[in-house]
């Protein structure tokens, strides 16, 4: 994974002055397609098994369905470096949102998890009139506000902003981070998890994964070689890649394609992991036309280089490999559940005899959605 | 059989074919020696044609006719058609009567500079490859059979 952190120089963030930290990673995801909720113990068990794929410098989880009582509010999880920036950020929040509830996220001390920032949670709703004034819908308004905070409020970082979902992450082994955030006390119908193996010490909690925007969350193992092409592409559409990580840009790409451009998920996948021209040539005229259009218009949204990602959103999760499968990714099904992980063992430890277990081909998505959901809705 | 064809449309008149023809038919097989020390007559000859618009060139060389007049006219039996169909001149037998030069309808046989024999294209059969083809800078000379040549005209 390419991690590129803030580098501040005389108060200026260097857009192209990133520190790139290549790293290996572990990813895992579980969904109950009937929507039955279960606590975080299982996902911790799965990601913990792949302990050797992380090195204690980052772990995190995304959980969907955890805030049913606040399901209409955006749940903002924010890291603060200090109280001053917290006050400033809260001023901004209060100006743009109605805050239904605010408080710190409960944690418990874990010896290996140190130097944690202030971790706060807000359930908010955008001030409708402001969104209307800007001719935006509430989601666009919210995402703009979040991008603004992350870009302009140094020392504050919104790391989760969806509805009825939340991200929990930090510097440490993922199982320790899970314990720190007491994930056994949350119940979700879908969990994804990430363990990092960076080759350098970022020491910054915001740099851990998953990366999220609104309901999107991405956990990712890989190092994309198209990073700057993708970044400069999404930045044309109002995004700012403040973290400058692969995961961030992948999230923005999906957000832009599916939410903003309203492209059906299945087609969005054809953009992200586009079929080869030679394969396109073999298809019928109509399909050819479609895929050629996709590859022409969204050429810069193709993600290149090794990646395996699990994309979570309110409808479920989608796992995807780069088109020549340069990273491991295994999927399995058992009853109502779909499991995805970097290693088969991380699935077997939860589900010893799956109904089906397979290694998805490069560029071929595993789509595991809640019952009744369609990826092109 | 394959013969050497020169295409007027491609011929630049540079004369390199003549240089290499002489080299191929020299004793030394060395360009500089062939020209400086040996007296050789090129079997391929570039003729300049003055056309209304521009000068063009025409390379003359033996057509290896199916019933060659030169063979019939030869008084010493030096001119013959070999088993491959190549019309050749046996320099040992040639008495340089020049009957062949007289009867050749294409003007493809020349009297040697030394005056003792005649000079004509033998497809560099002794040399192993036709140097005029190899060194033509514009691919104007080709080894083709009649149909191929016709197709290219």
């Amino acid at each position: 994974m390419y991690d590129v952190l803030f580098i501040c120089m005389e108060g200026l963030m260097l857009k192209e002055g990133e520190l790139r930290i290549p790293s290996g990673c572990a990813i895992s995801g579980i969904i109950d397609k009937k929507g039955n909720r279960f606590n975080g113990e299982e996902i911790i068990k799965s990601i913990a098994l792949m302990h050797d794929r992380s090195n204690g410098l980052g772990g995190g989880f995304a959980a969907y369905g955890i805030y049913p009582q606040y399901k209409d509010f955006y749940a903002l999880h924010i890291f603060y470096d200090n109280l001053t920036i917290k006050t400033q950020t809260e001023d901004f929040l209060a100006k743009h949102f109605d805050i239904e509830s605010a408080g710190n996220i409960p944690t418990k001390p874990v010896p290996s998890v140190i130097n944690s920032p202030l971790i706060w949670r807000y359930f908010v709703y955008p001030r409708t009139y402001m969104a209307k004034e800007g001719f935006m819908d509430e989601a666009e308004f919210t995402s703009k506000c979040i991008i603004r905070i992350n870009k302009d409020y140094k020392g504050a970082h919104v790391f989760s902003s969806g509805k009825n979902m939340g991200t929990f992450k930090g510097v440490g082994y993922p199982e320790d981070i899970g314990e720190f955030f007491m994930l056994d006390t949350y119940e979700a119908y879908m969990w994804t998890a990430h363990g990092r193996f960076p080759t350098n010490t970022p020491g910054w909690w915001g740099g851990a994964h998953p990366f999220t925007l609104l309901n999107w969350s991405v956990v990712h193992n890989g190092e994309i070689s198209s990073y700057d092409a993708n970044r400069r592409f999404v930045e044309m559409y109002g995004y700012k890649c403040t973290l400058q990580t692969d995961t961030e840009v992948i999230t923005y790409l999906f957000d832009m394609l599916v939410r903003k451009h309203k492209i059906p998920m299945r087609k969005a996948i054809k953009i992200i992991a586009a079929p080869f021209w030679d394969d396109i040539e073999r298809l019928n005229k109509e399909l050819q036309n479609e895929l050629k259009s996709i590859r022409s218009v969204y050429a810069n949204a193709l993600i290149n280089g090794p990646f395996s990602i699990i994309l979570g959103y309110e409808k479920g999760m989608i796992a995807l490999n780069d088109r020549i499968k340069l990273r491991s990714l295994i999927a399995a099904e058992k009853d109502d559940r779909t499991y995805i992980a970097s290693e088969e063992s991380a699935i077997r430890i939860l589900c010893n005899s799956p109904d089906k277990l397979w290694a998805p081909k490069g560029g071929e998505p595993v789509i595991a959605l809640l019952e009744g959901e369609q990826e092109w809705d | 059989m394959k013969k050497i064809y020169a295409f007027e449309s491609k011929c630049l008149g540079c004369g390199l074919c003549e240089v290499y023809c002489k080299t191929a038919h020299s004793k030394s097989k060395d360009i500089i020696k062939a020209h400086k020390q040996e007296n050789i007559t090129s079997a391929i000859v570039i003729e300049e044609i003055l056309q209304p618009k521009a000068v063009s060139y025409f390379a003359l060389q033996c057509r290896h006719c199916s019933s060659p007049k030169c063979v019939k006219a030869c008084i010493s039996g030096a001119m013959y058609k070999d088993e491959k169909g190549i019309v050749r001149n046996d320099k040992e037998k040639c008495v340089s009567c020049l009957s062949c030069v007289l009867v050749c309808p294409f003007g493809a046989i020349k009297k040697s500079i030394n005056g003792k024999t005649v000079s004509k294209c033998d497809l560099c059969i002794d040399y192993g490859k036709s140097l005029c083809i190899e060194y033509c800078p514009n691919e104007a000379i080709k080894l083709l059979n009649e149909n191929e040549a016709e197709a290219l005209k």
Partner: protein, 501 residues
Amino acid sequence: MGLDFNTPVFEVIRNEKKCIQCQVCVRQCSNKVHSYDSQDNVVCTDDIKCVNCHRCVILCPTKALIIRKYPLEFRENANWTSSVIKEIHKQSQTGGVLLSSMGNPKPFPIYWDRMLLNASQVTNPSIDPLREPMETKVMIGGKPEKLDFDAKGKLMTKMPPQVELRMPIMFSAMSYGSISRNAHEALARAATELGICYNTGEGGLNRDFYKYGKNTIVQVASGRFGVHRDYLNAGAAIEIKIGQGAKPGIGGHLPGKKVGEDVSATRMIPIGSDAISPAPHHDIYSIEDLRQLIYSLKETTNYKKPVFVKIAAVHNAAAIASGIVRAGADAVVVDGFRGGTGAAPTRVRDNVGIPIELALAAIDQRLREEEIRNRVSLIISGSIRNSADIVKAVALGADAVYIGSAAVIALGCHMCHSCSTGKCNWGIATQELELVKRLNPDIMYKRLVNLVSAWNHEIQEMLGGMGINAIDSLRGNRLMLRGIGLNEKELNILAIKYAGE
């Protein structure tokens, strides 16, 4: 001409031991440098006529010839160099504007050589193009903001016309007139075989070449030579030429002696008349006029052809490019100050315009800031010398490049900078039938195919090294570049980091 200050520029040295008096040099030199003295059986030379095109050197069967810089020296002076002095001598003799050919030869910085490429090590794998697919295909043309699909997932957006290039390389605009018919044929055939395009330049398109239309870009320039409905519809795309890197702000002039029967018919001008392209298009005095021409051309071709607009890389290129995009162009072509030409005023060639690398970086960045980069394709030209230049250009943000000088070099050009004389010994920049013949399209198109295929292989190797398997992922990917020997300002404009950062 009594007193003539001209001295030879080159000296022809003949090795008498090797010379066999075959006179190939005599027959091949259109400048009549060599002559045969039958009395003494020697070949003589007249150095002053030599332009150093190497024709005689290459064709000499014994390699008896060497051409050197004429050793005549002026007193050493870093300011008043020999070329400065000679130019003054020449102008004081003729009273004329100095003319030059090919591109700017001055020692300005070559930014391509000050950028280095990245490669994958350990953390992500490089990709072997011999074993894995490696895509270099690009689609050139205007793009919609986004694609729309209906409820069933069917594509609703109708795509504007695209030119499909199998590799991101095209042959630059070189008109029939400035180059020979055979050169055009070689370019057209090579483009067809390679699955790319060549460009007619502003000299119209000979009817015999309409069959290569799918691989032809037809140009519309200020002289409008050879422009008519069939011509516009004959190609894969139309290019409006506003300017040229070698001579920004200057028109063109094809001397009447080059306008023979065929050129005259193709250009639709009388035989022997000078073909003068005005400096501006006289129907484009502003950006809104450009829009009208773009849409007139689109109307004429029923919106089936992308319309490119080509400008020279000048100081304000980024803003101009933005205007061109907004005027409705489907591709912006930018030609750098090293771009070649058949003839340009020397002072203009050597002093006007800016390096293409900087112009490209600025334009790509500007179009992105204005959020319109994805609407168009960006094509650059102006001295692309090898495949690494192309990879760097794409990383800076170009969709494709045009190669002109490199293409003519493949056709035999030895960069003697004498195109304007019309006596090109290699049959490229000439209309003299005897010389044109020297460029045998059967041979030369293959050389072009070889060159571009070789470059494509190299591009694939470099892409694979970077862990990229589609050129799309390199486009604008400036993190793949690092600067070396550049100052802060240059790094900022190129928006790249320094090596080691």
